[in-house]
């Protein structure tokens, strides 16, 4: 069966520094694939390669089996790949509503509108006319996720959802992810927070120093295996 979005032997980096070294992975429709690993493991670079925001040195990115490696970021968004970038990157001078509406820049049609996004992320309800720069970190992250959904993507790439947020806010955001998972949306979730990631993921891939070192489902992987792969104590192969 052809995967929704797949990376094949991706190598990518910055200058002489290799951030991703020959990683392959795939996400299926309706699946949450969690990509875990310590800081600097190459997760965010891989996510940016999947989104078309970073050109790989080698390897291929396949969407429904079609090679989209050379397709640029804005065109890849129009094909249904949406990245919620690390650090939220909201348009600070615009309102929440403006940010959400700009998220629909690809003009893909589907069920996600400003109203349905607010239904899925209730904390945005009273904030639509507020300037994005006036929001708390958690509210900004909710806007970033909502903005990512507005393009009605087939794959949502979430980079470090919980970074810098209070635990109670992270709980609320993760609770919202359940409402976001609908209509066969595939999600690749990059996180450093193992606990929460394992709780929502259908499958887990662990990266260490640019390599994919472990993959499996939460049911088949033990906590010790994931922790070892995460910190590189005892690298498992797959």
């Amino acid at each position: 069966m052809t995967a929704l979005l797949a990376a094949e032997r991706i190598e990518a980096g910055y200058g002489d520094s290799r951030a991703v070294a020959g990683v392959s992975l795939a996400v299926e429709p309706g699946e949450v694939l969690a990509l875990v690993g310590a800081n600097g493991a190459g997760k965010s670079t891989l996510l940016r390669v999947l989104a078309g925001a970073h050109r790989p040195d080698a390897g291929r990115v396949l969407l429904h089996g079609d090679d989209v490696t050379q397709v640029r970021d804005f065109e890849r968004n129009r094909l249904g790949v949406s990245l919620v970038p690390e650090g939220r990157r909201l348009f600070a001078s615009l309102t929440v509503r403006d940010n959400l509406e700009i998220g629909a820049g690809s003009r893909r049609t589907g069920t996600w509108t400003v109203d349905t996004v607010v239904d899925a992320l209730p904390m945005l309800g009273d904030l639509l006319e507020r300037n994005a720069s006036q929001l708390s970190g958690g509210q900004q992250q909710a806007v970033a996720i909502g903005r990512g959904l507005m393009s009605n993507p087939e794959v949502l790439l979430l980079d470090e959802v919980s970074l810098g947020l209070a635990p109670i806010v992270i709980d609320e955001l993760y609770a919202s992810l359940a409402a976001v998972r609908r209509g066969g949306l595939g999600i690749v979730l990059v996180e450093q927070d193992l606990e929460r990631t394992v709780a929502v993921a259908d499958r887990i891939a662990c990266m260490l120093e640019g390599h994919a070192v472990l993959e499996g489902t939460p049911a088949t992987l033990t906590r010790a295996q994931i922790t070892d792969a995460y910190f590189g104590h005892e690298v498992a192969s797959w």
Binding site: A51, A53, R72, D73, F74, E75, N77, R78, S82, L83, P85, R89, F91, A92, S93, L94, D98, E101, I102, G103, A104, G105, S106, R107, R108, R147, S151
Partner: protein, 290 residues
């Protein structure tokens, strides 16, 4: 009453400076490009109007319907083909490209039209005025210029706030890389913004030409100086700041003109320098994207 008259004339002159500064403000506020050729684009606008007047026999208002959209299209493609490539080379490259354009245009105009002034006749409009008090008259053309400048600024503000294209421009000013992730080609957004800046520059150039009765190849050098001064006095990237900056500059020049006809340029430049030293962020605190 001489001072009052000078104040009134200065405010109205500020409308012309604001119109000249608006395109510059858009280019800087959205694209972060300092367009050193802005004055020359205004000059080209005035020349095209002069050509339309002499060769097509249309009046100056009809010529605007041709010149403004034409330079808008030119601006779009200058951004797509020249400045966008330069932007990938670093921040200095677009500055050098616009500097090059600023040198090429006057020389090309000399080749095509000589250095003689090309007339932009406006009939009786240039001399018509409204007497508001003893010793105080308002010229119809300066008043019209001010009204159009205010409408342009308000219209641009509404365009940026209320339209999809305007929102894209503001988002591109914030973070063009992230805008690309939303499925929007930022190059088109930038090109549209530059098209808007060129179109407004063309309009301002024609109004400058109307006020002076014509245009010469070197007028751009003075126009860009006034435009830069108005933008910086008002606050870099601020739309309403261009109007405030234009009025401050206009009033400074006309009041200096009361003392001596040789002083306006000098005093205008001194006011500009004083604002740079005392309030480098300008007198209006808002952004083009706000």
């Amino acid at each position: 009453m001489v001072i009052v008259n000078a104040l009134v004339q200065g405010v109205l002159l500020g409308g012309l400076f604001a119109m000249a500064a608006l395109g510059l403000s858009i280019a800087f506020g959205i694209l972060r490009v300092v367009n050193l050729a802005h004055g020359e684009i205004m000059t080209v606008g005035a020349y095209l109007a002069a050509v339309a007047l002499s060769s097509l026999g249309v009046d100056v208002w009809v010529s605007l319907l041709l010149v403004v959209p034409l330079l808008g299209v030119v601006g779009y493609w200058v951004q797509r083909l020249l400045l966008q490539r330069a932007l990938t080379l670093g921040e200095l490259a677009p500055l050098l490209v616009t500097f090059g354009i600023a040198i090429i245009i006057p020389n090309a105009l000399i080749e095509l039209f000589t250095t003689n002034k090309q007339a932009i006749p406006t009939g009786s409009l240039a001399v018509r005025s409204i007497r508001v008090a003893d010793g105080v008259s308002i010229g119809v053309l300066p008043l019209l210029t001010m009204v159009i400048a205010v409408l342009l600024i308000a219209g641009t503000q509404q365009f940026l706030a209320r339209t999809r294209s305007g929102r894209y421009m503001r988002a591109a000013a914030d973070d063009s890389d992230t805008l690309r992730l939303m499925g929007v080609d930022h190059r088109r957004v930038y090109a549209s913004a530059m098209g808007l800046a060129f179109a407004i520059a063309a309009l301002a150039g024609v109004f400058f030409g109307m006020r002076q009765g014509g245009v010469t190849p070197f007028d751009g050098q003075l126009m860009v100086l006034f435009a830069f001064e108005a933008v910086i006095i008002g606050g870099l990237g601020s739309l309403w700041g261009t109007l405030a900056g234009g009025i401050v500059l206009g009033v400074a020049q006309t009041l200096a003109g009361v003392v001596s006809p040789e002083l306006p340029l000098l005093v205008g430049n001194l006011v500009f320098l004083a604002v740079l030293v005392l309030r480098p962020t300008g007198i209006v605190r808002s952004k083009v994207v706000a």
